[in-house]
């Protein structure tokens, strides 16, 4: 009995210590990877995922890379050279092309997304704001219902004076989503018709989803 308890106690200590924990986890991860790989090989079905995984290993050009390049070229060509801040493929999320746009050019870029024949991203499925402590970011998820492809556009903004142009004029979806981000993260969307708090009371102090937010009453 006591031995077992000791074991468990030790385990607890281990867990608290980060380094050991990491090691342990890495081991498990390796195990998992091996297992899944084996299982995959064993199973006759050659899913797309497997293909993707193989391609990654071979360092071949990522799927959707061409889409990403086209989009970046489009932005650079039609809007401005410095419209695109960053562009990459998010391998973890079904290789979705991600383009970080400069907030000054967001509206122009968004208009292209909506109107371009090759893109036709008419459906804004989600808008989320993220606080990265160094900066704030707004992530737009677009999908085209006709062409059935998915793009992600990001905008970075300053943490002290966060301002991003509003997309309400193009997609009405953005309306409440932007209000929610304003409410919880404090990003002001210029051009929004009704930039008011939506979740919290109007007289609330602070923006709760900021990482440095401290509740007025920690008990609540």
């Amino acid at each position: 009995m006591s031995d077992r308890e000791k074991e468990i106690e030790k385990k607890e200590e281990k867990e608290i210590k980060k380094e050991t924990e990491k090691k342990e986890e890495k081991e498990i991860k390796k195990e998992v990877k091996k297992d899944t790989a084996e299982e995959k090989k064993a199973s006759s079905s050659s899913s797309e995922r497997e293909k993707d995984a193989q391609e990654e290993e071979e360092a071949a050009p990522l799927p959707n890379q061409d889409k990403l390049d086209k989009l970046v070229a489009l932005f650079k060509g039609q809007v401005s050279e410095d419209a695109v801040v960053d562009a990459y493929i998010n391998e973890l999320d079904h290789h979705v092309p991600v383009v970080t746009v400069h907030s000054d050019h967001l509206l122009a870029c968004a208009a292209i997304l909506l109107s371009d024949e090759q893109l036709k991203l008419n459906y804004l499925r989600n808008v989320s704001g993220v606080d990265y402590e160094t900066h704030l970011e707004v992530v737009y998820q677009f999908v085209s219902m006709e062409l059935k492809h998915h793009y992600v556009i990001k905008v970075k903004t300053d943490r002290d004076q966060p301002v991003v142009p509003s997309l309400t004029s193009l997609w009405k979806t953005a309306d409440w989503n932007e209000r929610e981000i304003y409410d919880l993260l404090g990003i002001t969307f210029t051009g929004h018709p009704n930039m008011k708090r939506i979740m919290m009371p109007d007289d609330w102090v602070g923006h709760p989803l900021r990482k440095d937010y401290e509740a007025a009453d920690p008990e609540v």
Partner: protein
């Protein structure tokens, strides 16, 4: 008119159908075995590992251990164990992580009370709440039966 008459037919037919209401407070409800009710706690089995308190999504469990007077080694036994049922969401995670099955689920669910203070359940209350324990755990409920924790319970099966 046809639709209205059809609808009247449906409702008329239902007059004689068997009623589906429960006679609940008069006839107790029998919940299935897996039902997540109020926990039962067995102090003897507890090894004060604190896992239940840490895994709780709402932080409703508080426990304090003390040095076992009968043992010279550094063995802790439970001193106080409280669950605040004001915020407990009966999610089953505490019983899932418990390596010794000291805390297990029962089928009792009647927590309604007149005062919020009554929702703060302590060790003795939880110990006495020993009826209708989930059958996979109740085998260990026999008095003095030694707890048989699965040897690897803490390693990988944390999340079953």
């Amino acid at each position: 008119m046809k639709g209205i008459v059809k609808g009247l037919g449906v409702t008329f037919k239902n007059i004689t159908k068997k009623k589906v209401t429960y006679a609940y407070p008069d006839v107790p409800m029998n919940m299935p075995d897996r039902f997540r009710g109020v926990q039962h706690f067995e102090p003897d089995k507890c090894i004060v590992c604190n896992q239940c308190a840490r895994v709780c999504p709402t932080d409703c469990i508080t426990l304090v251990g003390k040095q076992d007077p009968n043992s010279e080694k550094k063995v802790k036994i439970i001193d106080t164990y409280d669950i605040n049922f004001e915020i407990c969401i009966l999610c089953d995670l505490c019983t899932e992580v418990c390596p010794t099955e000291a805390i297990v689920m029962t089928n009792n669910f009647e927590l309604a009370t007149y005062s919020r203070d009554d929702l703060f359940k302590d060790l003795h209350w939880l110990e006495n709440n020993n009826t209708l324990v989930r059958s996979e755990n109740s085998t260990n409920l026999q008095p003095k039966a030694k707890p048989k924790p699965k040897p690897k319970a803490t390693k990988e099966e944390g999340v079953k």
